[in-house]
């Protein structure tokens, strides 16, 4: 009958389509070497990179992948020491304003072309060019003319970088920048193959067209799923690379990531689910890696509005009432370190300054906090009422609840905790109209105290509390002019002391990196930067693995 025929035709079509599609995706891009070749290293990314264009990228995940498919003038070892990358050697002038880099003669792009100084110049100019709209355009702010170019007052080719010959790059600075080398490991400073951009325009950063000067090349990218990297045989240090094939899987849910790890689908996770932390610590002791990193978790005051504007004593009271030890042991409980300073420990050439009350016992702290609270005019009958805002995440909520309880118990202050969506919170923090106390965090871009202290300058865009202290600004400015590292350090420490004495923020704890790493992965070393280049890793045999 006609109708049944129609129905069956449709059904057959649907089934056919389904099978075809299945055949397509199952047999398409992710075949090639992954089936028959040596096993791939499967790593996880907590979020999808928004771009693999070195100058357009932004997130830490993008930077992680970029560090595998590109290389800057300098790079890091597995232990986190700064070593030559594409630059074989360099010299700094006596006034600290000119750096001359000599590139390796055997540095090559993945198509065999030599990596030249001009490629670096191109990349750096691209970074500051307003047309690129690069997020890290301000990274090299101290390079001659950089700020002016970003503002649109000068042309990109006036940037203070020059290729004096094929393998020599000269960088000219407006101010001494002791952490310049650290900056030059950042993917936004990576070179770009000019011919590639000329040929493909802005679409050059895709699989198949993106050229790499690093240990791996971009083989494929399934947005939302996985990024595939293959060994770059033209890399100058290719002989030291063990693993041929790396796959970065995008996994946003921590528990799902843990499941995949257990099912053997991931070798390295990007984090560890907090709910299962105890279980993991017990069952996977040898595979769990927890290490301090350069990140601080803090509560910031809105210093432009009541009740915290012009009220350092109240701020100090709130800061002292928080028992950080309880926070890191009971609430977060994953090896974090309590924060009594703004700059995390482990930064190059620097010893963080501690909060004045760091050494006191809990009773002493609470007593002082209570008296400060009363001095600010509050009491049990007239408690301080304020709002603490945080973005939606389980951890933030738990900490906020704990803080709320602590303020209530120690001071009698009534905090209302408000949970806001991330984007909305960013807006509110920036506008400073509704926030009073907010949760935030800061991660250092480069291994220097300045990466934490600079953001508290009055004119810094990342200065969310609205901290404005002329003495602080002056100290940082002076620090920026020092060539002698020891003197510079003194200025920086003094600046941190001023910042902490003003209690512009309540630092709570320092972040740790947490990874699960399968035993068959070799070469993994924890470091404070949390950089784990795939080229330093190796993949051994698994027990019971019958693959060749």
């Amino acid at each position: 009958m006609k109708t049944i025929r129609l129905l069956s035709v449709i059904l057959v079509l649907l089934a056919g389509a389904a099978l075809i599609l299945q055949g397509c995706s199952g047999g398409g891009s992710d075949q090639e070497a992954s089936r028959s070749g040596p096993p791939a290293l499967n790593r996880a990314l907590a979020a999808e990179p928004e771009s693999l264009d070195p100058q357009k990228s932004r997130s830490t995940q993008a930077a992680d992948v970029l560090r595998d498919i590109g290389e800057g003038l300098v790079t890091y070892t597995a232990a986190g020491e700064l070593v030559p990358g594409t630059a074989a050697s360099w010299e700094m002038s006596d006034d600290g304003l000119t750096y001359t880099f000599r590139l390796r003669e055997d540095a090559r792009w993945s198509n065999g072309d030599p990596v030249t100084a001009a490629d670096f110049v191109f990349g750096l100019q691209r970074l500051v060019d307003p047309a690129t709209a690069a997020f890290y355009a301000a990274e090299l702010g101290n390079v001659v003319n950089a700020a002016a170019i970003v503002a649109g007052d000068k042309e990109p080719d006036e940037l203070g970088v020059a290729a004096t010959d094929e393998h020599t790059l000269v960088v000219s600075l407006e101010r001494p920048t002791p952490y310049l080398l650290s900056l030059l490991t950042h993917p936004s400073t990576f070179p770009v193959h000019r011919g590639s951009v000329a040929q493909h325009g802005d679409a050059f950063a895709r699989p198949g067209t993106l050229l790499s000067n690093g240990a791996y090349a971009l083989a494929d990218w399934e947005p939302g799923a996985v990024i595939d990297l293959q060994r770059n045989t033209h890399y100058w240090n290719d002989a030291e690379t063990s693993i041929d094939h790396v796959r970065y899987h995008v996994v946003t849910q921590e528990l799902a990531e843990f499941n995949r790890y257990r099912a053997g689908e991931l070798h390295v996770t990007s984090t560890v689910p907090p709910e299962n932390f105890e279980q993991i610590r017990a069952d996977y002791a040898g595979e769990l890696h927890v290490a301090p990193t350069l990140g601080v978790y803090y509560y910031g005051f809105n210093l432009t509005r009541p009740p915290f504007a012009d009220n350092p004593e109240l701020r100090q009271a709130l800061s002292m009432a928080i028992d950080r030890k309880v926070l890191v042991e009971r609430i977060t409980g994953r090896g974090e370190a309590p924060a009594y300073s703004w700059v995390p420990p482990g930064v190059d050439n620097y010893e963080p300054v501690q909060l004045p009350y760091a050494g006191l016992s809990r009773q002493e702290r609470n007593a002082i906090a209570q008296s400060l609270y009363r001095k600010a005019g509050y009491s049990k009958k007239k408690p301080l009422r304020f709002e603490l805002r945080y973005n939606t995440l389980d951890t933030h909520q738990r900490i906020a609840l704990a803080a709320q309880a602590m303020w209530r118990d120690v001071l009698g202050a009534e905090a209302t905790i408000v949970n806001v969506e991330f984007q909305v919170l960013l807006d509110q923090m920036r506008e400073r109209e509704v926030t009073q106390l907010f949760r935030s965090s800061w991660f250092g871009d480069y291994n220097d105290a300045n990466s934490f202290l600079a953001i508290m300058q009055s004119d810094s865009a990342a200065n969310i509390p609205g901290y404005s202290n002329a003495e602080y600004d002056e100290l940082l400015r002076s620090a920026g002019e020092q060539v002698d590292l020891a003197r510079r350090r003194l200025y920086l420490e003094e600046a941190e002391r001023v910042l902490l004495a003003d209690h512009a923020v309540i630092p709570l704890y320092f972040y740790v990196s947490k990874h699960l790493v399968k035993p068959e992965v070799g070469g993994w070393q924890d470091n404070t930067l949390n950089y784990h280049y795939s080229q330093h890793l190796s993949l051994g045999a698994v027990e019971g693995d019958t693959r060749p």
């Binding site: 528990l255 689910p273 709910e275 299962n276 105890e278 279980q279 309880v326 009971r330 609430i331 939606t392 909520q397 738990r398 609840l401 704990a402 309880a405 905790i417 949970n419 806001v420 969506e421 909305v424």
Partner: protein
């Protein structure tokens, strides 16, 4: 009918429970984290990862879930009935246009708009009701319209029209009451839908916000704790399943009841 009884029982416990329990759903007791259920220490259902009593939180969750579901259904009911009755009764061009609008709205990927709405308006409690109600009223409108069309031809309506009663009055006082049967059946069937939508929104982080909770949210949170603290999942999930089943059976029962009455 058993279902009706069960539901009432659950509702009662949900309301009374938090009153008589010594624990508060808000208090985080960090010394008592993740205790499994035990009568002895007063935490009948155990505690969650912040030390909050699960019994009270679950009862709270039931209250919220009921509230969301009922209010959302009422929202969709009111809009749907008024809209559908008007379209069906007035008929003609107005009806055609109104139904056209319904068809148009049907085409919109509603769940996406709900997500967008919640993202835009900062997830307040009220909005969740509105959003869920906004998804459901279309079906209600269609069904009501169909019913109205047939009711329109009945004698008492025509009598009212002859008497000169105004159209809105006719709709309100004559048509609407006769729709009750159909509407009740439909409402009891859409309530489970509303509950599931809310829990789905909780999954995305867009549902009810802390410190309040709903069954859907508790189930979501419990799923994360599945391996370490299974009771955090089992108890709310069982309760949720029971409630959904009850509503489904209730709806079936209602439908049988009203159908048999009508076809007499």
């Amino acid at each position: 009918m058993v279902s009706g009884g069960v539901l009432c029982a659950i509702g009662l416990v949900a309301v009374i429970g938090p009153w008589i329990s010594p624990n508060e759903y808000l208090t985080a007791d960090f010394n008592n984290i993740l205790r499994s259920p035990a009568f002895a220490d007063g935490h009948v259902f155990g505690t969650d990862d912040l030390g909050r009593d699960l019994f009270v939180r679950t009862m709270m969750g039931v209250q919220v879930t009921f509230a969301v579901a009922i209010v959302a259904s009422i929202v969709s009911l009111v809009i749907g009935v008024l809209y559908g009755a008007t379209a069906g009764f007035v008929g003609g061009r107005v009806d055609a246009v109104m139904m056209r609008l319904v068809d148009t709205l049907y085409a919109m990927p509603f769940i996406f708009f709900v997500i967008l709405l919640l993202v835009v308006f900062e997830r307040n409690f009220l909005l969740i009701f509105v959003a869920i109600g906004a998804i459901n009223w279309l079906d209600m409108a269609r069904i009501v319209r169909g019913q109205t069309l047939s009711l329109r031809e009945r004698e008492f309506v025509q009598a009212a029209q002859l008497l000169g009663v105004s159209t809105p009055k006719i709709i309100l006082r004559h048509i609407a009451p006769n729709l009750i049967g159909v509407v009740i059946v439909y409402v009891t069937l859409t309530i489970p839908q509303a509950i599931l939508i809310e829990s789905f929104l909780s999954f995305l982080g867009l549902g009810v916000q802390e410190p309040q909770t709903s069954l859907g949210k508790l189930v979501n949170d419990g799923t994360d704790q599945m391996e370490g603290a299974a009771w955090l999942l089992l108890i709310p999930a069982t309760l949720l399943a029971v409630i959904l089943l009850c509503f489904n059976f209730l709806g079936d029962g209602m439908r049988d009841l009203f159908d048999s009455r009508r076809s007499e």
